[in-house]
Amino acid sequence: MYGRKAFQLVKELASGEKGQLTPYNSDLFDQVTAECSQHHLELQSLIRKIQEEGLDVQTTRNSEHYGSLIHHLSLVRNKRCLMAYVYNRAEIIRSLIWKVGPVLPQEIQERLSHTEEEYFKRHSAALQSYMSRLDLDLTVDMVPPKDPYIQVRVLDDIGVVLSDDKTTNFARHSMHFLKRTDAEQFISRGLMEELTD
């Protein structure tokens, strides 16, 4: 049936998890473009037929006309599906720049077509150049800020630590108010715990 393959292509896109890329289906994609060429051949031969009969292509409403109309509409529909497939994938590809940065991990890269990889690179570059002309990095501060300081309790004797040109004695069970970024190294080693009130 006309348009079935293009429909499958779009369905693949729609059934994928939101924001996730499915592997680029070049097989199916090429089948649809082949179908488009076929429609075009049939369309041309029908129009030739009308012309050969000496009829006006613009006004004739015979079976050849309606046949060619069906091929035209099927072709347009296929085009829309192909465009929707690439266009919506491009949207996800752009969002990856924000989520994973300018270098794609192998497992994601494998799902892109060659031109999609090129598009990703070029769009990252466009974004970079915008940000450098703006003189502002927009890839940070993605969520509303929280208090940069947290309250921690020392779980094990750490001793005297020098940070921001002052020394603090992190004795066991003592409580401190630290920059989240400074405390994280101790928390991850199990030497401190964050106190939530």
Binding site: N88, S95, K99, M142, D147, Q151, D197
Partner: protein, 210 residues
């Protein structure tokens, strides 16, 4: 990326609604002496021990966390006032009692960070939860009466959180009424968000129109 405008998602995330609410003003009683703070968002202080002053909620919470102040809960958070509000909400089918636009977020921040400054904190908390429930039930009931095309719907006294919850549904419902009522076929505009081929879309729509 931030600001994703997906119709199935809330426009503002919970963190963003909280961020907005953190700019609401509260009264604190400092226990230290500190010079005025000349912030980008405004000037606050100077601060003197035992002298009440007004600051944004985020600043109040930061000072409280550092043990530098007590927070005076707003008047509407008293058990007496909350009880009145709850009764009024229960008594009336349609009216929403006036609470601050951000009452949910403000009270949560205070319950989380200034528990010891709130009299009858457990009672106050459970009253707020009850009020939320009653109000939400009313919102739902009122939505059921929404059956026809409207270009505008006044929703005065709905709080920020309630707006955020009803927005996707009501917005889409009104949009649907609007489309099915309009005389022209709606042009292909949904392609971007719907990820469905337009042809199928238009066909269904044609059926639904009168």
């Amino acid at each position: 990326m931030a600001g994703q405008s997906d119709p199935h998602q809330s426009l503002f995330s919970a963190e963003e609604v909280e961020f907005i609410a953190e700019d609401e003003t509260v009264e604190i009683i400092p226990n230290l002496r500190m010079d005025a703070l000349n912030f980008i968002c405004g000037d606050f202080g100077p601060f003197f021990p035992q002298i009440a002053t007004q600051v944004p909620l985020w600043l109040a919470v930061a000072l409280k966390k550092r043990g530098k102040c007590t927070i005076r809960p707003p008047q509407w958070m008293s058990v007496e006032k909350l009880t009145q509000v709850l009764e009024a909400e229960r008594d009336s089918q349609r009216m929403f009692e006036q609470l601050p636009f951000h009452y949910v977020e403000i009270s949560r921040l205070l319950f989380d960070h200034a528990r010891d400054d709130i009299p009858d904190v457990y009672m106050a908390r459970s009253l707020i939860e009850d009020i939320r429930d009653v109000r939400f039930h009313k919102v739902e009931t009122n939505l059921e009466t929404l059956t026809e095309r409207a270009f505008a719907l006044k929703i005065n006294n709905l709080s920020a959180m309630e707006v955020n919850i009803v927005r996707p549904f009501v917005g889409r419902a009104l949009q649907a009424f609007y489309k099915h009522d309009s005389l022209e076929l709606i042009p292909d505009q949904e392609r971007v968000s719907d990820r469905r081929p337009q042809v199928a879309n238009n066909a269904t729509r044609r059926h639904l129109r009168r």
